[in-house]
């Protein structure tokens, strides 16, 4: 049996606190939001990791005295 997902709602005007199960529509919306976030975040992380790899490669080439690519140089010179 799957876990029941609930919503704690605080009415800020009355102070009333209620807890109820999420509706199927709410669950679907949250899952869609989560999926969209995961896609956007994966893109962000991939971009950040690619930049880090480029910087590491640039450093290694500088130490070795070998030519840098344009993209590698761009990570070191603003």
């Amino acid at each position: 049996m799957s876990e029941m997902l609930t919503n704690i709602e605080v009415n800020c005007t009355t102070g009333e606190v209620t807890e109820r199960p999420l509706t199927a529509e709410e669950i679907a919306q949250r899952e869609a939001d989560a999926a969209a976030f995961a896609t956007a975040e994966a893109e962000r992380v991939a971009t950040a990791e690619a930049l880090a790899a480029l910087k590491a490669s640039a450093r290694a080439k500088l130490v070795a005295g070998t030519p840098l690519t344009e993209a590698e140089a761009a990570t070191l010179v603003i």
Partner: protein, 170 residues
């Protein structure tokens, strides 16, 4: 005159957890909102994203961030369906430790687009703890009347606490 903070509402998640914590019918009588969060999520990982939406709306968000986790620093743009306010503790982080966040929402009743900022940390008595600064924009002119924190189909764990404050500029 010192800025006065008024605690509007607070809730602490009980046993069994809760997937969503919502502040509804937010009074429109303050200038700014501040939310203090101490939370832990059931996600099977060291951290989980602190995600939230306003007015039940899932469109027109943008977020920028800079983040360090003890070994690397990253930044960028993320999320269009919600506000992303950094990383808080999740279920595989050290037991009984909660992440914390300060969220600032200026001019929440105004007719301009709504910008927010947050500083968030995950505490962990081990490697891999996160510190994140975020700013977000909701490209909508509506006044903010409700705020909901949720992480997909996973619960905020027991003792997670969300407190909403209102402030005025004078």
């Amino acid at each position: 005159m010192a800025t006065a903070w008024t605690a509007i509402a607070s809730t602490t998640v009980g046993s069994g957890g809760a997937a969503t914590v919502t502040f509804s019918s937010i009074p429109q009588t303050y200038k700014n909102l501040i939310i203090k969060v101490s939370a832990r999520n059931a996600r099977t990982d060291v951290v989980a994203e602190l995600r939230w939406t306003v007015n039940g709306n899932s469109t027109s968000y943008s977020n920028r961030l800079i983040q360090g986790n003890g070994s690397t620093v990253s930044g960028g743009t993320t999320a269009t369906t919600l506000f992303y306010s950094g990383e808080i503790n999740a279920s595989t982080s050290t037991a009984s430790i909660f992440g914390s966040a300060d969220i600032y929402i200026p001019d929440y009743t105004g007719g301009n687009y709504k910008n927010v900022s947050a500083d968030t940390v995950s505490e962990n008595n081990a490697a891999s703890a996160y510190a994140t600064l975020t700013n977000g924009l909701w490209s909508n002119t509506a006044a903010i009347t409700s705020i909901a924190f949720y992480y997909g189909g996973l619960n905020w764990e027991q003792y997670s606490t969300f407190t909403l404050f209102g402030t005025n500029n004078s």
